[in-house]
């Protein structure tokens, strides 16, 4: 028996499609919601039912709590899955869902409220024994206080917005002068972006790795940690490539984090999925807790690959009161191989990763052994400029890291997207790059390698343009187009082949024809 009859997915793009796949597999009906810009989107077509929730800007659609609840009631949905981003970590939304008598596929509302800001998370982390980085215990009230504290813990420090998320509201500061400069500006920006101006400071780790741990808990007090994901390859605090397990960790180091993380979960009576983001230093071998993400992560597939589990189905089963199907020991034994996820963003790496919107006019997806594609687009899809630039995720699996990278290079070569710019060419370069292959990198990787990959990408683009020009000027392009046309006429049995019929019709319709 499926736990629910109908589940509404309050999200868009690749994650909506991915969640619907789990819903369909479990024998339930999937309901989509969509904005004006997503009328013809893949997630809308893939769902069993779809409801319009408002104009393109997300504030009026995917962030509109009332509109989504209304759609759920109209559809008679039994449960709502929020995906990631948008309203997924919004306690008010979760509460509204529960109040409407619908099951919330996510952590309990109380637990979400308990760690509303990053500072709450830090406080509970300290109680649970999860290592935290030195810094302020609460919001820092004034610039003077901030300067004093920064002096005590030593520069560089990070100035963070307590209510920030998704990599925004974080600034690194190296000197007291910079701190003075940033303080008021960040306060204002934080207020504009998150509605709360609270800032805090903590010591900045130098060239750290970004490693996150996956906590899974059920309603019966059972917890496991599904190891970690290494998310170090980032630009401007936005992840690009993730992998599991981390090439940097030893089993003892990994296991040392399990107990405190489980304790954290117990303190706030957490269930479903939670992700502990930490920074890890290669030299000191220490973790520092950053924040707890109370949702399904973008990069969840790499964990699914190495453990051969389905985290979305697990999430749904957990909220339907089912117990965890495995213990920590059993889970540890399941771990096998290595998985890498490449986030295919509609962005231009040659132009500081600015977004690229438009219609997908060419689309070939890679398939085959060790390849999984979680895509939100297909040929003819429109990539609107209003939302996140992530359009698809390429996940590859190999028996070990080297094999996973080989599969990655092959699949990236097979992945062809036209009509919008993507990060695919950049990932091809990274996958062949020595430091990446050796697993030697920090969060500064993209910044450090910038010159090199820009040169490579520029050369490749210019080469393609030059070749296209030669083909055009010498008539090879036209010849190839004509050859393809006759070929496709033959294979598709195009009507133009049937000359006789066309002639017959024309003859009859002409008034001058006399029998």
């Amino acid at each position: 028996m499926p736990p629910f009859g109908k589940v509404l997915v309050a999200n868009r793009g690749e994650i909506a499609v991915r969640v619907m796949k789990a819903i369909k597999e479990m024998g339930m009906k999937a309901v989509a919601v969509y904005s004006e810009a997503d009328k013809y989107a893949l997630h809308v077509k893939y769902a069993d039912e779809a409801y319009y929730i408002g104009p393109a800007p997300s504030l009026q659609s995917y962030l509109n709590i009332q509109a989504i609840i209304d759609a759920a009631e109209k559809a008679h949905a039994d449960a709502i899955h929020p995906g990631y981003g948008f309203l997924s970590e919004n306690a008010d939304f979760a509460e509204a869902v529960v109040k409407a008598g619908i099951t919330w596929i996510g952590p309990p509302v109380d637990a979400m409220r308990a760690i509303k800001s990053k500072l709450d998370g830090k406080r509970i982390a300290k109680m649970a024994g999860v290592p935290i980085s030195p810094g302020s215990d609460g919001p820092v009230e004034s610039l003077d206080e901030a300067l004093k504290l920064a002096e005590k813990i030593g520069y560089p420090v990070m100035v963070k917005a307590a209510f920030g998320g998704g990599g925004t509201g974080i600034t690194r500061v190296d000197t007291p002068e910079q701190l003075q400069e940033t303080w008021e500006r960040n306060k204002r920006l934080a207020y504009q972006a998150f509605g709360k101006a609270d800032l805090y400071i903590e010591k900045a780790a130098i060239n750290p790795r970004h490693i996150e741990f996956q906590l899974i808990g059920d309603k019966h007090g059972n917890y496991v940690v599904a190891w970690e994901r290494e998310c170090t390859i980032q630009r401007r605090n936005q992840k690009l490539i993730e992998e599991a397990p981390s090439p940097a960790l030893k089993m003892e180091e990994r296991e040392s984090m399990f107990e405190p993380i489980i304790k954290f979960g117990q303190i706030i009576h957490y269930y479903t999925l939670g992700t502990f983001e930490t920074v890890f230093s290669d030299t000191t071998r220490e973790f520092y807790f950053l924040e707890l993400n109370k949702r399904l992560q973008v990069e969840h597939p790499i964990t699914e690959m190495i453990f051969r589990i389905d985290l979305v189905k697990l999430q749904i089963r957990i909220v339907a009161d089912e117990p965890l199907p495995f213990t920590q020991e059993e889970l540890n034994k399941r771990a096998r191989g290595h998985a890498i996820e490449y986030r295919i963003n509609a962005e231009d790496p040659l132009n500081d990763f600015t977004g690229s919107s438009g219609y997908i006019t060419y689309y070939k997806e890679p398939t085959g052994p060790g390849v999984r594609v979680d895509s939100g687009v297909t040929l003819g899809s429109y990539v609107p400029p209003f939302y996140d630039s992530l359009i698809s995720k390429l996940i590859v699996y190999g028996e070990n890291r080297a094999f996973a990278i080989q599969a990655g290079i092959r699949a990236l070569n097979d992945y062809k997207i036209g009509g919008v710019k993507t990060t695919i060419e950049l990932y091809k370069w990274i996958s062949q790059e020595e430091d990446f292959q050796k697993g030697k990198f920090s969060t500064a990787y993209i910044a450090e390698k910038r010159e090199q990959f820009l040169k490579y990408l520029k050369q490749k683009e210019e080469m393609k343009a030059a070749l296209a020009t030669v083909m055009y000027e010498r008539g090879y392009f036209k010849k190839a187009m004509q050859a393809q046309q006759t070929q496709s006429d033959k294979t598709t049995g195009s009507k133009r082949q049937s000359g006789w019929k066309a002639y017959g019709l024309m003859a009859q319709s002409s008034p001058r024809v006399l029998w």
Partner: protein, 167 residues
């Protein structure tokens, strides 16, 4: 020798100096030069082989897209021959005149932080362009004086449009 402007499906504009020789063509782009030669049909129907700077590449055309080595793709959206203005060197045509600030992308001008006649230092922010919800700041590539501003806040710009001139 011709100057050719190619626009692809994602609105990138390439200005190329194209020199057709007997069999080999030489194409000069902003930062690279390519020697390209057609060496014959490939193994499969519709496949062509080109030698680019000494390396052989397999090429075929699918749905108007040029597919190179079955790995990367390119589409010509527009291709035009541009006349070379008198007194302009080839370098200037390809890279734009010195001091001309071109838009690196399609978007909308948000703010302009300088006035005509302002002295600017290298790296000073000149204006910002918004595209896909993010703001990109365009900074001065050299020190000088702002001679002319050709755009207004709120105006939409295409990639390659002239924004302002620094002397």
């Amino acid at each position: 020798m011709k100057v050719i402007r190619v626009t692809n499906d994602v609105n990138d504009v390439f200005t190329l100096a194209y020199d057709q020789r007997n069999k080999k063509d030489v194409v000069k782009a902003e930062s690279n030069e390519f020697e390209i030669e057609y060496i014959g049909p490939g193994w499969r129907d519709g496949e062509m082989l080109f030698k680019i700077n000494g390396e052989v590449h397999r090429v075929y055309v699918d749905n108007g897209y040029i597919i190179i080595d079955d790995e990367t793709l390119f589409k010509i959206d527009r291709i035009t021959e541009t006349p070379v203005e008198e007194g302009k060197s080839l370098e200037e045509v390809i890279k734009g005149k010195e001091g001309e600030i071109l838009s690196p992308m399609q978007g909308r001008i948000v703010t302009i932080r300088v006035k005509e006649g302002d002295a600017v230092t290298k790296g000073q922010p000149l204006l910002s362009i918004e595209a896909m919800k993010s703001e990109t700041v365009i900074s001065a590539p050299t020190a000088g004086t702002v001679q002319k501003i050709l755009v207004k806040p709120g105006q939409g710009v295409k990639k390659g449009d002239l924004l302002l001139i620094i002397k």
